[in-house]
């Protein structure tokens, strides 16, 4: 039984690993034309914090994705591999001067181990007139470490990685029994899905090892310490395809972050990156029977996670794997 996962970002890799775990008899192949540092996942800071706007087909399913994803990251965090996999625990603050709703999180308040209001004193930690704040403990996944680690695990389990560009998913008919489409933004072209919208984001990675907690301010400003550097962000440019680093965004980000945390002034820049978040409402995780010349190709889609790919990848991977299993079981029986 041959299954192909198209796309090697965090969603593709977690799906491939889950498929290997659940389908003992299957040969799983990851097929992609961009890997590791060329993927959108690489730009992400990787903090587990799904926004209230993240939505799947139903609320129940969405919550299940988020719980499953948290369990996955948490289990991984507790093993000896966690550092090599780039997974660690991280706590921090969200401050807002405008709206109490911003500092609350509809999805994860009961999922993460701690989510509480910030005290008066904590509101004074950062310069600025912060009125509302919360402090919570969650998990960070550094994709620069996770992607190579996951790929190694995948290969160890007998998987194959193929470098190939596709014009259409139909090209895979006859080569595989089921195809799992984890192509993110490329699904717009591959599936002609107009609901997929890139949301451009830019970050600056700086060397600031004294930053030990994350800070969010009114949502568009964030400071997230990772394994190798601190991610300063960010921006959300809806429907922008610009992949160049913009010096204006850069100085805006710098200014906002330094206003929030003055100690960052003068910190050394490691790199600046731009990523196009593949946003779709709802996130598409479903089976499609794609008609081709030789019958129907079973495609399970798993894309459209937007800015919450790293966060929710394992949850959607589990759901997608169940869809693959159902599809494989549903054969004509001799």
């Amino acid at each position: 039984m041959k299954v192909c996962v198209v796309g090697a970002g965090v969603v593709g890799l977690t799906t491939a690993l889950e498929l290997q775990r659940e389908l003992r008899n299957a040969n799983v192949t990851v097929l992609a034309d961009r890997f590791e540092q060329d993927t959108c996942s690489d730009v992400a800071a990787g903090l587990f914090r799904p926004s209230s706007s993240f939505s799947g087909p139903t609320e129940e399913i969405t919550r299940k994705w988020i719980s499953d994803a948290y369990s996955y990251w948490d289990e991984l965090r507790k093993t000896e591999h966690s550092a090599r996999a780039g997974v660690c625990q991280l706590s921090g603050y969200i401050f807002s001067s405008r709206d109490p709703a911003i500092v609350r999180n509809y999805y994860i308040e009961k999922v993460v181990p701690l989510y509480r209001a910030a005290t008066e004193q904590e509101l004074g930690l950062c310069p600025g007139e912060w009125k509302y704040g919360s402090f919570f403990t969650t998990i960070l996944t550094e994709c620069r470490r996770f992607q190579p680690w996951a790929a190694d695990r995948f290969l160890e389990n007998g998987g194959q990685i193929v470098t190939e560009s596709l014009e259409s998913l139909r090209e895979l008919q006859g080569r595989y029994d089921v195809v799992v489409n984890c192509t993110g933004l490329a699904a717009k072209r591959l599936c002609n899905d107009q609901k997929l919208v890139p949301i451009r984001g830019q970050i600056i990675k700086v060397r600031a090892p004294w930053v030990k907690t994350f800070f969010y301010a009114d949502f568009d400003t964030y400071i997230i310490p990772g394994f190798e550097g601190v991610s300063l962000g960010g921006c959300r440019n809806y429907d922008s395809y610009n992949t160049d680093v913009s010096p204006h965004d850069s100085s805006a980000i710098r200014e906002r972050c330094e206003a929030l945390l003055p100690s960052l002034r003068g910190s050394q820049v490691i790199r600046e990156s731009v990523g196009l978040r593949p946003h779709r409402d709802p996130v598409r995780v479903e089976l499609e029977l794609l008609p081709t010349a030789n019958g129907n190709l079973r495609v399970v889609h798993n894309y459209g996670h937007g800015g919450y790919g790293v966060t929710t990848a394992p949850g959607t991977a589990k759901y997608a794997t169940q869809l693959v299993k159902d599809a494989l079981k549903s054969n004509s029986k001799l």
């Binding site: 775990r21 003992r24 008899n25 209230s52 706007s53 087909p57 139903t58 399913i61 919550r63 299940k64 719980s67 499953d68 369990s71 289990e75 001067s97 405008r98 709206d99 109490p100 709703a101 911003i102 509809y106 009961k110 999922v111 509480r116 209001a117 008066e120 509101l123 004074g124 009125k131 695990r153 160890e156 389990n157 301010a217 009114d218 568009d220 400003t221 921006c235 959300r236 440019n237 809806y238 204006h248 805006a252 200014e255 906002r256 206003a259 479903e286 089976l287 499609e288 029977l289 030789n294 019958g295 299993k325 159902d326 494989l328 079981k329 549903s330 054969n331 004509s332 029986k333 001799l334």
Partner: protein, 634 residues
């Protein structure tokens, strides 16, 4: 808002209540990112309002008058509400676009345009927040204070006069304490009481009628605090506060505020319900998930990635009885079962055989028939277990080996299927000479075969082709069927069709053969011909669950999802009612139904985008689904 600012009596210092003014006036549409951006928009857009507001408020903190302040806020808010309606992008962009030419491209990249673009997207972002903000801000200044107490979910009843007064009182108390230097002591600062009072001042904890009420969040916070040693102190300190509270309760009582209270009450009640519901939901979910994880970690001794050789992987070793078999006490279950088989009622036959085998577990014949029937009942896992049991009594049982090969093929367990086929060949007197000894040896010592692997598909095919060639004039239906199975394994469906067509020529009354022909046609995308073959099979054996299931699969391939669901439900109903047909008490029809059929039905429903029926599938709620698809049970 720092403690120091409030309490130290600086002249003209920032009054914390002024912050509230800022909250009111901030035009959400022009929300910019971060501090710097925010400030500038604030300054730019609402300069006149700011001045107006500032001018009318007395600078000294002690002498502010609540009613004046509230009135101002209400007026400003009314204006602000109207302003908020127009979310207009800056004129600069429109002008540059209108002027045309490539100039606008450059200007688009300029800072001003950037800021506009960003404010636009922030407005997209804030769409989700716009409603709550508007909703809260809309109804007058009371709710401004109210939104500030965002952690507070309970009791909006006695909102404003008490709320503000108490907070004022708290503030004053702390101010006095500070002035009198009694609170200057480091340790006093940290005490529960001070923290409690500052929370009251901030509005996080509300004192209503002498009772301290706090939100769900604050409860947690309080728990944490209470668990510390100073918990008891807090209890004592509450008494003096109560006295003050009663005093201040006689403050002004404006009518408008009551109206706002009602509105706010309703809003809050809703919000509270929602919060509680989602709290409960989340809690349940999380607990359920934790349980699952616990059981999973307990049952899985090994690391999931260390697994048995896939060659010898067999998940169906033990036969799992469908519990509560109601036919357990019937003596001649075996005979009854055979009768049902003759009738073509497969599910009832299965029930009988299960009962029979419980009585007489050492009877290979019953296991055999049970195995065959379960396969036709679309329950391959059970079939494999039963057939293996039969095989344990007689390892050279040819029909059993063939049936096993078929079931393994359906479950995509290629290696096992090939092994069975080779063994089948070996048992068959006519062809056993053809089987090369190495192939057989591989079977005997599974542990040593890690180097050899299982029998090779290619090799087995050659073997069978040789067997066919041995007798070119007559068609050996068994060989043809075996070869057909092999070609299914190698995905050479047209060849498989040829084999099965030969088989049905020899055995036109074998519903099994017709079904296999149909399946091979379906796999080869010859759906229309497949339907004809299935119809033949069903006409011979109307209770042939597997054939009906296959018809459902064809419908899916042809995108006739509704018809597919109907066929699958027909099959499930047939299984569910088998107990009744056997004339016994219905215990749990759910166990009689095939998991495979349910799985495929789930797939069909999601292809139809009927996620609302997912719970029905999870609960195996046949009734609901019958209703949805208008299926009646004759």
């Amino acid at each position: 808002m720092s403690f120091k600012d409030l309490v130290e009596p600086e002249c003209g210092g920032a009054n914390p209540l002024m912050n509230l003014g800022r909250v009111v006036r901030r035009d959400v549409a022009f929300q910019d990112e971060g501090l710097a951006g925010g400030r500038s928009s604030f300054a730019g857009g609402d300069r006149e309002l700011v001045n107006e507001f500032m001018g009318q408020i007395a600078p000294a903190p002690q002498s502010f008058r609540m009613d004046v302040l509230l009135k101002e806020m209400r007026e400003i808010d009314a204006q602000n509400f109207h302003r908020q309606q127009q979310i207009v992008p800056g004129p600069a962009v429109i002008d540059t676009v209108a002027s045309g030419g490539t100039a606008w491209v450059e200007q688009f990249h300029s800072e001003a345009a950037q800021a506009r673009a960003e404010s636009k997207l922030s407005s997209v972002w804030s769409q989700s927040h716009l409603t709550p903000i508007q909703g809260a801000v809309n109804v007058g200044p009371n709710n401004i204070l109210y939104t500030k107490d965002f952690f507070d979910v309970h009791d909006p009843t006695s909102m404003e006069p008490e709320g503000t007064s108490i907070r004022q009182a708290a503030g004053e108390m702390l101010a006095e304490g500070y002035a009198a230097r009694t609170l200057n002591n480091e340790r006093m600062n940290q005490s529960e009481f001070i923290r409690f009072m500052s929370n009251v001042r901030a509005g996080n904890i509300r004192i209503h009628g002498g009772q301290v009420s706090s939100s769900v969040w604050e409860n947690r916070f309080d728990e944490l605090e209470a668990s510390s040693s100073k918990g008891k102190e807090e209890q004592l300190q509450q008494k003096p506060t109560e006295a003050d509270v009663q005093q201040l309760q006689k403050e002004k009582d404006e009518e408008e505020q009551r109206v706002d209270d009602d509105w706010a009450k309703a809003f809050e009640a809703d919000k509270r319900e929602q919060d509680e519901a989602s709290d409960n939901y989340n809690k349940q979910f999380w607990e359920r998930l934790q349980d699952e994880w616990r059981t999973l970690s307990e049952s899985e001794g090994q690391h999931p990635w260390l697994s048995e050789f896939s060659d010898y992987y067999d998940p169906y070793k033990e036969y799992k009885f469908d519990e509560e078999n109601p036919m357990q006490d019937i003596e001649n279950a075996f005979a009854k079962g055979k009768a049902f088989l003759a009738q073509g009622d497969i599910p009832s036959a299965v029930l009988c055989f299960e009962a029979a085998v419980k009585h007489d577990p050492e009877n290979p014949e019953i296991w055999e028939l049970l195995g065959f029937s379960q396969a036709e009942n679309e329950k391959d896992p059970n079939a494999i277990a039963a057939l293996n049991k039969a095989l344990s009594f007689n390892p050279n049982n040819a029909p059993v080996l063939m049936a096993l090969a078929v079931s393994y093929t359906n479950e995509s367990m290629q290696n096992q299927a090939l092994r069975m086929l080779v063994r089948w060949m070996k048992c068959n007197g006519k062809y056993e000479a053809l089987v090369p000894p190495e192939m057989v040896q591989v079977q005997e010592s599974p542990l040593a075969s890690s180097l050899m692997g299982g029998p090779n598909l290619q090799q087995v095919q050659e073997l069978f082709i040789k067997a066919v060639q041995q007798s070119p004039n007559e068609i050996d239906a068994d060989i043809q069927e075996a070869l057909g199975v092999l070609f299914n394994l190698s995905s050479e469906y047209d060849k498989a069709v040829d084999c099965f067509q030969a088989a049905v020529q020899v055995r036109p009354d074998s519903s099994k053969a017709w079904n296999r022909l149909g399946a091979s046609l379906a796999n080869g995308n010859r759906s229309v011909e497949a339907v004809e073959a299935y119809q033949r099979a069903l006409s011979i054996q109307p209770g042939f669950i597997r054939a009906r299931y296959n018809v459902g699969i064809i419908c899916i391939n042809l995108k006739a999802y509704k018809e597919a669901a109907e066929h699958l439900l027909t099959a499930l109903n047939h299984q569910a009612t088998s107990i009744a047909r056997s004339g016994l008490n219905v215990s749990s029809p759910a166990n009689q139904m095939s998991t495979t059929i349910w799985t495929t039905l789930r797939m069909v429903l999601s292809l139809m985008n009927r996620q609302d029926l997912q719970p029905a599938i999870d609960n195996r709620d046949l009734e609901t689904l019958n209703r949805e698809f208008s299926i009646t049970n004759e």
